[in-house]
Symmetry: C3
Subunit: 346 residues, 3 copies
């Protein structure tokens, strides 16, 4: 894709200073931009880059007063950051998520319905009795099992695997290779030491505006539903076990695992590689730092947790600070036992 500075300014209802005929073929950070790139200046901390940037054009505020001459063209708008985000969204739409039409061979069972204005990539698969909304984007190799429901504007990237009976809301995103609705890990120990598989007949429900990362796995409920509520964002390689419920607008970073039947509140943040034990409840606005392991329910809202096992962040930081000089602590104790204070501390 290639546009002129003038064409972009028109879209943004901005005013051009400099050569409006220059060609723009990409977006870049102001400190990295080269000829052909469009950048923006919002935080004035970066203003010095404006006078040295290699960008062909920079989006700036209408009110910015130049301190030095510039070699780049300027596009003056009311709010440079919002204008630039608009361009980013436009770019992503144009290049990746705006696909439409059907590439053959694509499989859809005749008992299933799909709304208008959609994309179904080659080798995508839709099973029996599915109900799929409008403006849906289904990349190649996506698998959608029987009796699924998928809302409007949802995007399923390449090779996403949706087991039977999954319900996905509107404007959700499921990244490549994510698995939604696999069997919960339920096995009943038998007297002879072997395990009997407990059938898993529940499903997964994703509400609207949920995002699921690449190769993440979300197990179906044993009975009932594993639920991820409105607007929550799940990162790559996250594991969510059977019957888990995650509240609204909660963020779960990469490689975190949540064990069976645990309920996570609204507006929580679970950092990367966190583990949450089963059958717990975490109150709204709980934050868990990276690599922590939570083994107890949290009833009070807004708590910060750290460590494995996790406790409150401030105490954990202080305990870790002492941990580092444990050998010194032991030496001091030994000296006291011998009746001698440490010489450097006496």
């Amino acid at each position: 894709m290639e546009f002129t500075v003038g064409q972009i300014a028109e879209v943004l209802r901005g005013a051009v200073e400099g050569d409006a005929s220059q060609r723009i073929d990409r977006l870049a950070k102001i400190e990295e931009a080269q000829t052909g790139a469009l950048s923006f200046l919002s935080n004035l901390k970066y203003e010095p880059h404006l006078y040295t940037t290699g960008a062909s054009a920079v989006i700036v505020s209408r009110t910015l007063e130049l301190k030095h001459p510039v070699t780049t063209a300027l596009i003056r708008v009311d709010d440079p950051y919002t204008s630039f985000t608009t361009l980013l969204e436009f770019y992503q739409q144009a290049t990746r998520t705006g696909k439409r039409g059907v590439e053959e061979p694509a499989y859809i069972a005749s008992s299933s319905t799909i709304g208008g204005n959609h994309y179904r990539g080659a080798f995508s698969y839709i099973g029996e009795n599915c109900q799929i909304g409008n403006d849906v984007v289904i990349f190649p190799h996506v698998f959608i099992g029987d009796r699924c429901k998928i809302g409007d504007g949802t995007i399923l990237y390449a090779g996403a695997k949706i087991y039977a009976e999954t319900v996905i809301g509107n404007r959700c995103t499921v990244h490549a290779g994510a698995v939604i609705g696999s069997d919960g890990f339920g096995f009943a120990p038998q007297p002879d030491g072997s395990y009997r598989t407990i059938p898993q007949i529940g499903n997964v429900v994703l509400e609207d505006n949920v995002s699921i990362g690449a190769n993440a796995t979300i197990d179906c409920a044993t009975m009932g539903s594993t639920i991820i509520r409105e607007g929550s964002k799940i990162d790559n390689l996250v594991q969510i076990a059977h019957n888990v419920e995650i509240g609204q607008h909660t963020v779960v970073a990469a490689q975190t695992g949540i064990s069976g039947s645990t309920k996570i509140g609204d507006n929580c943040v679970l950092a990367g590689q966190t583990g949450i034990a089963g059958h717990l409840t975490l109150a709204n606005r709980t934050t868990v730092t990276a690599q922590s392991g939570v083994g107890k329910s949290i009833k009070e809202e807004g708590i910060l947790l750290q460590g494995s096992p996790a406790f409150n962040l401030r105490d954990s930081l202080r305990a870790n600070a002492v941990f580092r000089h444990l050998p010194d602590l032991e030496r001091r104790l030994t000296l006291l036992e011998r009746g001698t204070n440490p010489p450097e501390k006496s």
Copy 2:
């Protein structure tokens, strides 16, 4: 699917009390069940729900004496839990794993054989010289490389990827996106700092009744076989490296990683996010708690381990209890060095 209470009672050889013509279209827990749902009462702790449940029918024991009137129909059987599990298995079979036939396009090399009564979903792939048993269920986008052997009754969910020469036993389950037989991570450091790839020519063997979770990865052996023995259950996103051997009826929970050439015994339990170093041996019935990291072989059977690095559970719990108040410990030590006992403890 929809059945009447009477039809279900007939299958279970149970006796109906109440309206046998009511329609059942799902199974649910007694405390959550609504009209149209069938539930069960086994643990009498839940008996109070029997008198308030919204279920259309509940499976109960022939010997249960009602303490109050019920609005739900009853199906009386000898053992409600077993009867309900039978229905769960029937339901799962009917809706998910009971598929049969071939959906086109599906690819199978002419040099490969597959037994009767199977399902091959659209876009499934079977390479050269494979031997595949009877009653096998192969979902869409499954990849089976050359010279694989797969036993009777095995289920491969959507997008499972089986590298060449893998051997899978009878009645195994491989969930969506799992990768079996990828190259072991073997690279020989060279004098110039680069790495030379060591070819990995071994394979993976899964014995009977093994279950592999969604997006789990199991590497082939460098030479010989990576082996998972009879009845072991591997959860989602688990990593099993080259030449690992896992004994019978061992359970490995989500996101655990087992490094190269390690041998895990029979009837072990590795909880979630555990790590086991390479070239170790863990005795039968070893249990490792969540997020622990095992760096030494365990020779005695039945040991419980915790921590990273892991040691025995009881000592680990006690050490963690002290860890939490390390700052207090240091303060007490400082007071002693100053010749002062802590006032609140003196």
Copy 3:
């Protein structure tokens, strides 16, 4: 595949002692080898196995003097280890990575180009405007998005998913189910507690000789590129976030996660289940032990780190040694406070 001992000796320019007509159908370790297997003896620690091995033939040094009679045939070469590795590579090439030709149905957009001598498996997908080199091996179910560039001799295993605009160098290997180029995890918190998705318009660049493990995930940059440089090796289920840069010849073991915008140096080793926080820089030759969590930049080269949070290995080992007997430390402290030295230490 089956060869005679004589045929193999000819390829290796070796001299046969014993029956050159014996048939070889596999490679095995000398201590495990049975009839039909070819093995090798390089480390003389294993020489006793030479006199008892079941192998049909063993590759040995031209200079080896036999201490006992052997029943196996010998192939004498200059360097047995190098000769055996050559056979391993030949075997892997013949059985797995040497495929050529196109299996139908395979999808390639007419705007894309691909060089000669390639393999495209059934159900593989190549989008618009891709440029793909010579001798490329693309297994079934591989997805290659629009405008990707892929170098000569690269192998993409089954179901690898390459998002649009990814650049992959020569002789790279991407294992099954790996996802390259998924969206970075970028969400801007809004005043109402919800999140706005930040469009991710960058890409991923893999330089030459890079290997990516099964089901690993590598996110695209927000703007610019996530980069993995020449010769680095990434294991299964690793997560690499947006805008990360990994230097040359760095090894990242399974289930490790690297957060956004972090730069890892050359010749680093990150062991399994490691976590690296965002916006850090790790100097060349940094080594991080398994399950560690790095929260600070490392400026000095060649440092070894352990723990979560990580600090230098030697201090971490010493602190962990004291951690194990913390309850004892506390008891000693309490005795001192009571004015009593521990009896067994006094």
